[in-house]
């Protein structure tokens, strides 16, 4: 693996590249690193499998009996798995950077590519691309499961439920948004890992960021704090992108909620970039 990187380095030195080229070479190097170990592929598979499995369990367990009104958003229900797939995304993002620190590879990487921001950009782009692809498969699978199962459980158009399929605007938005959501979660956790560097602590911090706020929200009764938490915490605000019913009751609109998550991810990336730039590896 390091041989490849060395060879890459030689090319870079030979051609005295522009900034764009260095990112491109860094991308190539990072891609080589990623595809030559089996971990990332398994984790991506895990994202899709866990998301679809949890969604299928959720959809399979939900029925709307004939004599009752069901205040359920079928699209959000079908996308339940995303809340668990994101844990695997977090692990993937953390290991992408922490594995290099734990085995000392980062020193080789930075020696070969002294432009640290290019390394960061390459890793972030690659991570986001991988998670978007894996996330798209996962989300499509989840939507498909909802589309196939929910009408048989009483969620029919005749009773006023919208179809769970990509031809329906809000569902399309929720599905695409969920894929973007997973990508942003990956970048957020990547930024955290850049700052923390230790894989164990990074995973702890990342999972706490993802799951602590929903728990606090469940216990806080104060309406003002509920509103604040719903608007400004990464996962609660970000997941509003999955809502297709009762939009007026939301603390923040779906796209704005995803925007809040994007701000968190950007802040984490910037802080991580500064940490990478300033600290010794």
């Amino acid at each position: 693996m390091s041989t490849t990187v060395q060879a890459q380095q030689a090319t870079i030195l030979d051609s005295a590249p522009a900034r764009g080229a260095s990112v491109r070479h860094a991308l190539h190097a990072e891609w080589t690193k990623l595809r030559t170990v089996s971990g990332p592929a398994w984790l991506l598979l895990g994202v899709a499998a866990l998301t679809i499995a949890v969604s299928a369990a959720a959809v399979g367990a939900t029925h709307c009996p004939h004599n009752l009104t069901c205040p359920i958003d079928p699209t959000k229900l079908s996308l339940t798995g995303v809340q668990f797939g994101q844990a695997v995304v977090a692990i993937l993002a953390v290991l992408m950077i922490c594995n290099e620190y734990s085995c000392g590879m980062i020193r080789t990487t930075l020696a070969a590519m002294p432009n640290r921001l290019a390394v960061l950009a390459a890793k972030a782009i690659l991570l986001a691309a991988l998670v978007l692809v894996g996330g798209a498969v996962a989300v499509f699978g989840a939507v498909l499961v909802g589309h196939l199962i929910l009408p048989g459980h009483g969620f029919t158009a005749a009773r006023g439920f919208h179809p769970v399929w990509l031809s329906y605007g809000p569902t399309l938005r929720a599905a695409c948004g969920s894929v973007l959501y997973l990508g942003l979660i990956a970048l957020l956790c990547f930024g955290v890992a850049l700052i923390v560097r230790d894989s164990a602590v990074s995973i702890g911090v990342a999972l706490a960021l993802l799951y602590l706020f929903p728990i606090v929200l469940a216990f806080v009764g104060n309406a003002h704090w509920q509103h604040r938490l719903e608007r400004w915490t990464p996962t609660v605000a970000g997941l509003t992108i999955q809502d297709t019913t009762g939009l007026r009751g939301l603390a923040i609109t779906p796209w704005a909620g995803l925007g809040v998550l994007a701000i968190w991810a950007a802040a984490a990336l910037v802080a991580g970039g500064i940490a990478l730039k300033l600290r010794d590896a």
Binding site: A57, A58, A61, T62, H63, C64, P65, N67, L68, T69, C70, P71, I72, L77, T80, Q83, F84, A87, I91, V94, L95, C98, S102, D198, S199, A200, V201, I203, G204, L207, A208, Y211, L212, P214, I215, V216, A218, F219, V220, G221, N222, A223, W225
Partner: protein, 544 residues
């Protein structure tokens, strides 16, 4: 190469010969390893601080708003309704229709119940419509019967024999006591005779199918009962609740209900005036449960010949967390929510406590110095468990001390816990964190890599609780997760007991876990024990 070094069996004496031999020395060595890593010490202190901060934050922000008819919106203590406390110090509901006479000294009341009828809010469309028409039907815990009560004050001591909607004959006393009699419902063809006898502080309840052959149901002591008590017939009925177990948790729709008991063959022996008075104790029921007859000081009763008809709404029972109580309630363990954040931090440190040795190769030195691998594992488990326990104890005690007074200012009724319960909640939280730490150390041994160990530990301990709290799985599945996974241990924090005679919902946010406190804690213990065994096997079998 390494395996050779490690697998050479060294005499036990070599260990004992060291300057500080035996298990004590091993403990000391592991403690030194722990305290000399600054990050771990800081992490553990951080765990305590985060636990306290989040716990108190949640406790201080549980406020619910309220608005009296047309009045200004209020928050905090102004929202608190009048809350009666029972003889045992617990918060109680005490609302019923009472047809009574004062009884001086000892005596016996006997009555035959020939019917128990009821009606409740129409929930057929899945939603309670207060004020809409009532439909016939009995709540499961609608009750009517005979009662001996200290006074008509809410919360005063009592003992009662009753027939219920679908729970047969019961003898209940002092709100929390419930003794089951024979099952079956009451009708004109199958009437039920009920009798209560007072002798000093002792009340004995009897029931009979025919009025001649009596069966004793129970004997209870009502400490400090006055010489003159109120005795008579009563009827009441708690909110009618329909639970719809859907995804996103169980939906509970409830609405008011009332019960009507029809009595005849009423006889009262002892020193009583012989004139019946109707009283509505509590002037209605719990919030929203005010039936058509409630609200006034006089109970709706009719007296035709020897037949008495009493109609009432409410309940005579302890108030429990959640929708069953009809009040916005809060329990002391709400101040311990932060323990989940502390848990994550402790799990991270505990997992690293072993995996770091693998990463740095220190494990080979450790095992060369102490070839008894089981002892190494035990020492590590004891050290990290003890640290987590102490951290948890301090964090839980401070959270409760700071948080509970804040809970009381939030417009919710604090359900008090006795001192032993409070101690159990605090020590139990500390023990839960200690066991989670032991589990994480063992996962570190089994998986060897910190990332994997932490992920698995958090998935096992934290995620089931999260799934149940967020209603991300159906209520039934969530309950099973909290029975089978290590997250069951959180039940040790449950401060209010579950009463079979009160409708309660299994929902950890509202205070009820599916398992009883010690059963849940036992499940966590089993997990920790299983992890220790598995870790011991892996540690012995594999080369370091």
């Amino acid at each position: 190469m390494t395996s050779q070094t490690v697998s050479v069996p060294r005499p036990e004496a070599a260990v004992a010969d060291g300057p500080r031999g035996g298990f004590g020395g091993l403990l000391r060595a592991e403690w030194t390893k722990f305290r000399s890593v600054r990050g771990w010490v800081i992490g553990m202190i951080l765990a305590a601080l985060l636990t306290i901060f989040f716990g108190v934050f949640v406790a201080a922000n549980g406020s619910v708003g309220c608005q009296m008819n047309g009045g200004p919106a209020r928050t905090g203590k102004a929202c608190l309704p009048y809350v009666p406390y029972g003889p045992g110090g617990e918060v109680v509901t005490d609302s019923f229709a009472f047809l009574r006479q004062p009884l001086a000294g000892n005596g016996t009341i006997t009555a035959r119940v020939i019917a128990l009828k009821g009606e409740h809010a129409d929930l057929s469309n899945g939603r309670a419509q207060v004020g809409s028409g009532m439909v016939p039907g009995l709540s499961a815990w609608a009750k009517a019967g005979v009662i001996i009560k200290q006074s008509t004050h809410q919360g005063s001591a009592y003992a009662a024999m009753m027939v219920t909607g679908s729970n047969g004959v019961r003898m209940q006393y002092n709100y929390t006591g419930d003794i089951a009699g024979p099952p079956g419902s009451v009708s004109a063809g199958h009437p039920r005779w009920l009798r209560l006898t007072r002798s000093g502080d002792t009340i004995t309840g009897y029931e009979s199918a025919n009025g001649t052959q009596w069966t004793k149901v129970g004997t209870v002591q009502l400490a400090g009962l006055r010489s003159t008590v109120q005795v008579g017939m009563f009827a009441t009925s708690p909110d009618y609740t329909v639970t719809q177990d859907s995804f996103g948790g169980a939906n509970n729709n409830s609405g008011p209900s009332q019960a009507t008991g029809v009595f005849d063959h009423v006889s009262l022996t002892g020193s009583a005036p012989g004139k019946w008075t109707g009283t509505t104790v509590g002037g209605g029921g719990p919030a929203g449960a005010q039936g058509p007859g409630g609200g006034s000081g006089t109970a709706p009763y009719t007296h035709t010949g020897s037949t008495f008809t009493v109609t009432g709404s409410g309940d005579i029972a302890p108030v429990t967390p959640g929708p069953g109580g009809g009040l916005p309630t809060v329990t002391i363990e709400q101040s311990l929510v932060g323990a989940f954040l502390g848990l994550i931090v402790i799990v991270v440190v505990a997992a690293m406590f072993f995996t770091t040795e693998y990463r740095r190769g220190l494990i080979r030195t450790t095992l060369a110095a102490t070839p008894r691998r089981g002892a190494v594992l035990a020492a590590k488990a004891v050290v990290i468990g003890a640290v987590a326990f102490v951290i948890g104890l301090v964090a839980a005690a401070v959270s409760i001390t700071l948080g509970v007074p804040k809970e009381e200012n939030q417009g919710q009724v604090l359900l008090p816990a006795s001192l032993p319960t409070e101690v159990r909640v605090i020590v139990g939280t500390a023990a839960m964190l200690a066991l989670a730490a032991v589990l994480a150390v063992c996962l570190g041994v089994i998986l060897r890599r910190s990332a994997a160990a932490i992920t698995v530990a958090i998935l096992l301990v934290f995620m089931p609780f999260l799934l149940a709290v967020l209603n991300a799985v159906p209520a039934g599945a969530g309950a099973w997760l909290l029975r089978l996974t290590p997250a069951a241990g959180v039940a040790i924090e449950q401060s209010i007991p579950r009463y079979s005679q009160v409708f309660t919902v299994t929902n950890p946010v509202q205070g009820y876990d599916p398992l009883s406190p010690y059963a849940g804690f036992g499940v966590l213990c089993l997990w920790a024990a299983a992890a220790l065994v598995l870790a011991l096997i892996t540690l012995r079998r594999r080369d370091a």
